[in-house]
Amino acid sequence: MEHIPILKMGAFLLASIQVDMHDQLALKLQDDLTERIVRDRARGVLIDISTLDVVDSFIGRMIASIAGMARVLDAETVVVGMRPSVAITLVELGLPLEGVYTALNVEKGMALLRDRVTERS
């Protein structure tokens, strides 16, 4: 079964969504990520959605819930590289992803995560 690769970068995990997101894949990502956060004792998660050009309410909710789960496991989540059309869609769907950090690209997301983590510890 296809899955989204999760890369470990120091204390952070990077999940880059490079394929069309469907519900099954989103659920798998949720499973894998929570698993890896615990196993690698990660302090932060970066989800790169720069290639995602269509979202529905399910995927939107999924991203929000992944962030929620990560927070419970003591890791911050940053969603990076959202496209304008996706941002507009999410807002129109009434899913402004409150409580999820966002950044323009992976580099800025990394910097943000580092700030957050040092702030907390």
């Binding site: 304008p84 941002a87 807002v91 402004p96 323009l104 997301g109």
Partner: protein
């Protein structure tokens, strides 16, 4: 079935007396009180009249006087459409434009009267034919006129929409969006798209939305502002709303609008200062080296 009528003599009259009719027609138009000498030169009027009459004559020569949709009339119609469009742009009223065509009746009828002399039945028939055809053409000018006006309005609306949503870059990571005019759903969509695209293009970290030029903020406008701010945040940039006038502040509170966590500033200058501080840049007054 059509009732049997005497054959039309209009084509013949037009062919023989085109010059007389034209002269008479132009003279009457120049004397008429509805002529807009401020918008139209006499030479131009003369040229337009001659062109129209020539096309009208050509069309009638093929005996298609009763069937205005026939191919023979296409030249007349395209000429009229051109004329109507140029007059719409010049600022004529539809009535003035249509009068141009209708005023041909008088000289034409006078000429027909001379031609038929005592044959009243034939005269009546031909006058009816001419009336139908000229009325049709007159109404056609109005139709084109209206269409031309609508095109102008549509184009202006488009231009207004584009003009009213500039996104300017104030500093390396700082964008400003001065909003002017009322924010409705359609404009919000355009504003959002241009702002988000600009954030992608410039990699800006902070966007300042200045609402000094927004006349009123009601719950709907506030809703639109919140949406724009939320979308910006999703892209990974922060938003500051500035330019909130005292009245607007009062309305926002009276309406119970909750702007939530969105930072607001009274002036664009204040917002810019905050943005500079957040991005780590600084400006010292009077220092030349400050970029």
């Amino acid at each position: 079935m059509k009732t049997q009528r005497s054959s039309s003599r209009i084509p013949v009259v037009l062919k023989q007396a085109e010059k007389d009719i034209l002269a008479d027609w132009v003279k009457r138009q120049l004397e008429s009180s509805t002529l807009r000498t401020d918008l139209l030169k006499e030479a131009e009027l003369r040229k337009e009249s001659a062109a129209f009459l020539a096309a009208f004559r050509n069309a009638t020569q093929n005996g298609a006087l009763e069937d205005m949709n026939a191919a023979e009339w296409s030249e007349v119609k395209s000429g009229l459409a051109e004329l109507s469009r140029s007059r719409a742009q010049a600022g004529f009223t539809p009535a003035e434009t249509a009068t141009f065509v209708f005023s041909l009746k008088q000289p034409l009828f006078a000429r027909l009267q001379k031609e038929f002399e005592s044959d009243t039945e034939g005269l009546a028939d031909d006058m009816w034919r001419a009336t139908v055809s000229i009325d049709h053409l007159g109404l056609y000018t109005t139709e084109v006129f209206q269409q031309a006006r609508e095109d102008i309005i549509a184009r202006q609306q488009r231009e207004l929409l584009e003009l009213s949503t500039p996104v300017v870059q104030l500093w390396d990571d700082i964008l400003a969006l001065p909003l002017v005019g009322t924010l409705d759903s359609e404009r919000t969509q355009v504003v959002m798209e241009t702002l988000l695209q600009k954030i992608v293009d410039t990699g800006a970290a902070i966007a300042i939305i200045d609402i000094t030029g927004v006349p009123t903020v009601d719950t709907l406008v506030a809703q639109h502002l919140i949406k724009t701010v939320s979308a910006t945040r999703l892209m990974g940039a922060d938003c500051i709303i500035s330019g909130i006038r005292p009245q607007i502040a009062q309305t926002i509170v009276h309406l119970g609008v909750n702007l939530g966590e969105i930072p607001t500033k009274a002036t664009l200058a204040d917002a810019f200062a905050v943005a500079l501080k957040r991005t780590g840049a600084s400006l010292r007054p009077g220092s030349e080296g400050a970029r």
